[in-house]
């Protein structure tokens, strides 16, 4: 018996160590190499030097701007996301799975594409402006909403609503509706029953999605540059300016560290809340929690809270497709023709079909890697937190934090870190095809773990105990007790990993070779070349990327095991 548990313990450690080693090689090592380059000169200056760098880069202003827009973006994302999550998790209606897939598509789009889509929609000469001109009859009417904080917030909400819908939705759909019904029977009003029963039970998943959204927005970069206008600066845009244009590595390293520390601090606070608010519950299958809307009132609610916002989210996507058929306000198929005719003799041209295949291939690999690493990591964290020993709790808290670090890492800095550390001994991975899905899963891991944790924590230990008492081996308990509960979150996590990989641009652009080019890299390449044709081609490629994402997600929904309905 002791021998068995020792072996199980060793396997557990090896299993848990794999994701940590992975993170050390591909995140901690490159980050420390690039930060060390900047930190040397930084430390020579001492405290006075640090103060000077802080003053020079306008640190207080940057901090306020980064945090302020991230908080507002998170609030806006919740405002959009929670009603949709509610409708999706409590009601059955035709076309729901299509809507859910559509909602996840923004997540896959590279920032350059989302930026372009918003410009097509609410920029100068965009669709909104055309409508205003049409309605007011004034040809000089201004319908531009870009170069403003509002545009950035909208784009962030557009990006991240899927996180709230998926994470909160999967918790909500497993929540026993009888709990709220009981409260109603006992005399609580609708609002009171919700705020005292449902909301507290949802809090861990709401917090989990908030923290992810906050972290994404806090280090957002492309959207701020494209839609925020030249006066808006965040930590990450300043890191970009300092490292790319001024090549001021000390300042860039300083700002990257500030960003990283702040993210970790926020995460830490969040873990404290999370472990306090987690409640063990008996999750119910969807068949028991969902119903078809029965009264006209309920149908109205479904349309108002679920369908209308979803349709709103489709506007930028539609604008993108619309833009790919527009040339100077006239209908054209030229961009699509040019795309498939192939700029023929151009050097970097690769067929969009080939790029799409590359993208899908990497996305499948990245999903596999991040699930293989994410599931054991999430298990270890949940197990440690549940254990009563201090060491387990501390270990779990540390692991929990480590796996959130990728979210706070400056993408620009990490990109340069890869250049410094992966192109020479001890790691020469330059141009290696394996590195691309590895980098993608690095980005996907925090999402996968965050998506799995709330479900894992909610598994009732008594169910496991009961199974064990009845003679089930540990493996059988995982299969028959844990897995059915986890399925929904597992599929949500797979979908996230898949979309993250499809849309990833930064790391791929650094690691890629011409024959490994993915759709986002091809889009960026088109956008960085002059000419309406290239701009139009980029929009057409963006449309293809959306289609590839939709197809991939539909496939994930298809291969799900019988009975594992995602909310």
């Amino acid at each position: 018996m002791t021998r068995f548990s020792a072996r199980a313990g060793a396997a557990g450690i090896a299993f848990g160590a794999a994701p940590v080693i992975f993170l050390c090689i591909f995140l901690v090592y490159p980050m420390s190499r690039i930060l060390a380059l900047g930190a040397g000169p930084l430390l020579e200056g001492g405290a006075a030097g640090l103060r000077e760098v802080a003053a020079d880069t306008g640190l207080p202003r940057l901090l306020a701007a980064s945090a302020g827009q991230a908080v507002l973006s998170t609030v806006l994302t919740l405002v959009f996301g929670l009603p949709i999550a509610w409708i999706f998790s409590r009601f059955r209606f035709p076309g729901k799975s299509v809507l859910k897939t559509l909602l996840l598509i923004p997540f896959v789009l590279p920032t350059v594409v989302v930026g372009s889509a918003f410009v097509e929609l609410i920029g100068t000469g965009g669709i909104l402006e055309k409508i205003i001109v049409l309605l007011s009859g004034n040809p000089d009417a201004n319908g531009n909403l870009t170069r403003s904080l509002g545009a950035v917030l909208l784009a962030h909400a557009f990006y991240n609503t899927a996180i709230v819908v998926r994470i909160v939705g999967s918790a909500w759909s497993g929540l026993d509706p009888r709990l709220e019904q009981a409260a109603r029977v006992l005399g609580a009003g609708r609002a009171r029953a919700f705020s005292r029963v449902t909301l507290p039970l949802l809090l861990p998943s709401i917090a989990a999605s908030c923290i992810l959204v906050f972290a994404f927005c806090f280090s957002s970069f492309g959207i701020v540059l494209m839609l925020g206008g030249p006066r808006m600066g965040t930590l990450e845009t300043e890191i970009y300016k300092q490292s790319v244009y001024m090549f001021n590595l000390p300042a860039a390293a300083f700002l990257s560290l500030v960003q990283l520390l702040l993210t970790v601090l926020v995460m830490f606070g969040y873990s404290r809340i999370q472990s306090r608010t987690s409640v063990v519950q008996n999750l119910k299958p969807v068949s028991a929690t969902q119903r078809t809307p029965s009264t006209p009132g309920e149908w109205t609610l479904v349309i108002l809270c679920g369908l209308a916002p979803t349709a709103g989210f489709m506007l930028p996507l539609a604008a993108l497709v619309f833009g790919s058929f527009q040339s100077r306000s006239a209908l054209t198929f030229a961009w699509w023709q040019a795309l498939f005719a192939g700029a023929g003799h151009s050097l970097y041209w690769i067929s969009p079909l080939r790029a799409a295949v590359n993208s899908l291939f990497f996305a499948v690999e990245a999903s596999a890697i991040s699930l293989l690493l994410g599931v054991p990591a999430a298990y270890l964290i949940a197990k440690g937190q549940a254990s009563r020993q201090a060491i387990g709790g501390i270990g779990a808290a540390a692991l929990d934090l480590i796996f959130l670090v990728p979210l706070g890492t400056s993408a620009v800095t990490l990109g340069f870190g890869f250049i410094v550390s992966m192109s020479g001994p001890p790691l020469d991975l330059q141009g290696s095809a394996a590195l691309i899905p590895v980098a993608h899963s690095l980005v996907a891991l925090p999402l996968v773990i965050r998506g799995l944790l709330p479900a894992l924590r909610s598994i009732n230990p008594r169910m496991r105990d009961a199974a064990a008492v009845l003679g089930a081996a540990p493996a059988a308990i995982r299969l028959h007790v844990d897995l059915p509960v986890l399925r929904r979150s597992f599929l949500a996590a797979a979908a996230f990993a898949f979309t993250v990989s499809l849309g990833e641009f930064g790391a791929t652009a650094i690691l890629t070779r011409p024959e490994l080019v993915t759709l986002p890299v091809l889009i960026f390449d088109s956008l960085s070349r002059p000419g309406l044709t290239n701009q139009g081609q980029a929009l057409a490629l963006g449309s293809i990327l959306m289609a590839a994402c939709g197809a991939g997600l539909a496939l994930i929904e298809q291969v799900r095991p019988r009975g594992a309905e995602v909310f």
Partner: protein, 351 residues
């Protein structure tokens, strides 16, 4: 058990990826370029056949980003040849000491005024001009004369017509700032600082990138409202060349090229220190300066070839003339002051 197997496979995969770098063809020449590099495939293929080599291009982002990547990978170069350093970044490239000198015999045929690096570590391949473009149809329909000088742009007559790029995030933006610095200087009644104060008061619009300025804000592209934009002197020719049939006789846009106000951007090639294929790299540099590659440059990258006597297409001669007296600033002065200038500009225009 299954989990252990998976772990082993995973570790094996990483080890394999780490141990075996790219499986290589006999000889590969690695060329790092900025993302706007373009060339005709057959022209490159001719070099490959003649030298029995495969040229592997990789794009490193914009000019500044590409150079930074080359500097950061100094100890283990990402490539043998680096193309795309321009004269605004020349000083940074030279002081980072990442390039080896190559006194190419082809330099004898290259325009001497472009040879900004006497140590021959960076050899000029092409050059172009940052210029103001205007929308012909807009000025015609508004019955307004096209501004002729930089000073004109501060007149109330032209209020709210100009869109420029942020020099902190855009290389044409930086080049235009340098042009105004060359034109107005630091002293006198009108300095470059007071000029930008005036531009700001005259409602010049600043955006972060050339894409946004040209395709979203400039009126000639059908979407924007502003008829004057900071762009390239070859943009009008490009517009005409790419105009759908039936092609108009003149481009929809024109250049404003006041004396001493168009910044000349020169792009260079160099051989990285520690190049794995130094011989091939030298041959490739010779090739980039040769007639065959140089005559391919205009219609691919829309800049002028650096080699003397290379014929440029008619469309260049008619619609993209070389400005008589370009603005120029010594690369060393740019390197020494670039950051201060950008900071000051940010305070004046965006502060």
């Amino acid at each position: 058990m299954r989990s252990k197997l998976l772990l082993t496979v995973l570790c094996g995969a990483f080890a394999a990826a780490a141990a075996f770098p790219v499986s290589s063809a006999p000889r590969i020449l690695r060329v790092l370029t900025h993302s706007s590099f373009a060339a005709t495939q057959s022209v490159i293929a001719a070099f490959e056949t003649a030298n029995d080599v495969k040229v592997q291009f990789s794009a490193g982002g914009d000019a500044g980003e590409t150079l930074n990547k080359a500097i950061l990978s100094k100890n283990n170069p990402l490539a043998d040849v680096l193309y795309g350093v321009d004269n605004t970044f020349l000083g940074r490239a030279l002081s980072a000491d990442i390039l080896q000198p190559y006194d190419s015999p082809a330099l004898a045929s290259v325009l001497p005024e472009l040879q900004a690096d006497p140590s021959h570590r960076l050899l000029p391949v092409d050059f172009g001009y940052i210029a103001l473009n205007y929308d012909r149809a807009w000025f015609a329909s508004h019955g307004l004369a096209v501004p002729q000088t930089l000073e004109d742009l501060t007149r109330p007559l032209y209020r709210g017509l100009l869109v420029v790029e942020n020099p902190a995030t855009s290389s044409p933006g930086l080049a235009f700032l340098l042009a105004t610095i060359a034109r107005f200087g630091e002293k006198g009644a009108r300095t470059w600082r007071s000029y930008w104060t005036d531009l700001r008061q005259n409602d010049a619009l600043v955006v972060n990138g050339w894409d946004d300025a040209y395709y979203n804000q400039f009126s000639a592209e059908g979407k924007g409202k502003r008829p004057i934009v900071v762009s390239y002197a070859t943009s009008p020719a490009y517009e005409l060349y790419n105009a759908p049939a039936p092609k108009p006789a003149v481009p929809p846009t024109g250049n404003i090229l006041p004396e001493g106000s168009s910044f000349r951007q020169i792009e260079f090639v160099g051989i990285l220190k520690g190049a794995k294929e130094p011989d091939l790299a030298r041959r490739f540099v010779d090739f980039m300066l040769s007639e065959a590659f140089q005559s391919d440059i205009p219609l691919q990258m829309w800049v002028y070839p650096s080699r003397k006597g290379v014929a440029v297409p008619d469309i260049f001669r008619t619609f993209a003339p070389v400005p008589a007296a370009p603005a120029s600033i010594d690369p060393a002065a740019i390197e020494a002051n670039r950051d201060t200038w950008i900071k000051d500009w940010t305070k004046i225009v965006l502060g």
